[in-house]
Amino acid sequence: MVVLKLADGIEQALEPGQRYWLVCGHEQQMQQRFDACAEVLNALAPGAVGALEGAGGLLSNLRVWENMILPVWYHQPQSMAQLESRFEAVFGQLGLEGDALKRLAAALPPGLDRERKRQLVLVRAYVQQARFLLADQDWYDWITHAAPHACQEVFAHLAQSAPLVVVGVGAPALSMQLQEIIPMPQTAAY
């Protein structure tokens, strides 16, 4: 169990398999809290924090394959074969193989649509073998309501072994099925 402790007084014990909702007052605060959470979690597990951003969060000057391995390659040097096998395994689950996968791996992110980018950040978290998942409201909304079934399965598998923190504005929708919520100091727990 790990304690997420932010500078603005928020403190929450995180347990694998649990999902948490970090309440923010507005969009700007949401971005700031996402950054703060990422900083804290990256200090605990460098290269093993899956940042799941609705806008994509991929670097436009790197190819998809390079984007997928960047965090784990930077923080925990591993053999390329190992990373490649994980990359292929997760895309196998998502139903993409062969030439189509090669084309995607060599593509640059600006040419991809938003849904594909959202899938790719999930793939990146899988390749990282993320010990923590950090998502924004936008991405979590997509995975719970609009993502293909295969993506939801991959996500469910990942979220079983890692705590998930969703950073969002206001109270979470009931349909999101978040089990625990981190209260802000001035608000009550939902």
Partner: protein, 292 residues
């Protein structure tokens, strides 16, 4: 917490008994240098701390150079090394042919003018070209080419990343901006500028020799060592390093200081070129002032 008990001080060494992990945490309090290798060798749970009375200046120096050394330590990560190599390739290798052509033509023009219009002998013209080329023209021209080709590219690349929130994404992945984005680009452009300046100076010398000596160019090439001094070559490299570092830092600064709008990207690109060119001439002027 370790129990220090009565530390045995012998000739500046203090022996402390305890578990290695415990000592590792506690030793920071003492500003001691730990020799775990020795401990492993002895196969005992004893760690030897060496007391350095000069630890204070060491810390001072480390703090002083930390802005430079901390990003450099990023080179131990493979992705940062990859960015560095890509930068050297795009800035150095891809511009090499252009620089060789420019240098060759420049050498020919300078020797033709000195020999034909000012009546200098061929050898004197080549000697002057070596002095001018290595000490002044080559670093300046290579830096101008570098600014035109790469400063704008670096600034627009970083500005695009900034506008599209990719810098923030990097931060969220726990990848430091200085070590991954800035340092490899600055180092890569500096190395490329040194290489390009050297190529340009050598190509100019070859061009001058070809134009001056014609068919007897081999003799002039063999005689290069008489015209060139080590000081000229070192000046060329030092100036190139200064220009390369200055322009690349400026390009990174301009690229990362853009607003949130897409229209800021071309502005950053042109700003990097204009400021880079100004910086080169200001630095060159300051270098001349320093020498005089």
């Amino acid at each position: 917490m370790i129990s220090i008990g009565a530390p045995q001080t012998r000739g500046g060494l203090i022996g402390l008994a305890g578990n290695k992990n415990q000592l590792g945490a506690d030793c920071q309090l003492f500003q001691y240098c730990m020799s775990t290798a020795l401990c492993d060798k002895l196969q005992r749970q004893v760690i030897v701390f060496a007391v350095f009375p000069e630890a204070f200046p060491c810390r001072m120096l480390r703090r002083l150079f930390s802005p430079l050394l901390d990003p450099l330590s990023g080179l131990r990560h493979a992705p940062a090394r990859r960015v560095l190599l890509k930068q050297i390739y795009f800035t150095g290798n891809e511009a090499a042919l252009l620089v060789l052509l420019v240098g060759f033509a420049l050498g020919g023009i300078v020797v033709a003018m000195l020999h034909g219009q000012y009546g200098q002998s061929q050898e004197a013209a080549l000697r002057l070209l070596a002095s001018l080329g290595f000490k002044e023209i080559s670093p300046l021209l290579a830096a101008i080419i570098l600014v035109a080709r790469s400063s704008s590219a670096v600034a627009s690349e970083l500005a695009t990343m900034q506008v599209h929130g990719e810098i923030r994404s990097l931060y969220r992945m726990g990848i430091p901006l200085g070590a991954y984005l800035i340092m490899p680009r600055v180092l890569g452009m500096t190395i490329a500028c040194i290489g390009l300046s050297f190529y340009l100076a050598v190509a100019a010398q070859l061009g001058g020799a070809m134009l001056g000596a014609g068919a007897e160019v081999t003799y002039q090439v063999i005689e290069f060592d008489r015209m060139l001094t080590l000081e000229q070559v070192l000046t060329c490299m030092a100036k190139a390093a200064l220009f390369g570092m200055g322009t690349s830092l400026l390009a990174c600064h301009v690229g990362l200081r853009v607003g949130p709008y897409v229209t800021d990207i071309p502005k950053a690109s042109s700003r990097a070129v204009v400021r880079g060119l100004s910086a080169i001439f200001v630095l060159d002027f300051m270098w001349s002032l320093w020498l005089s």
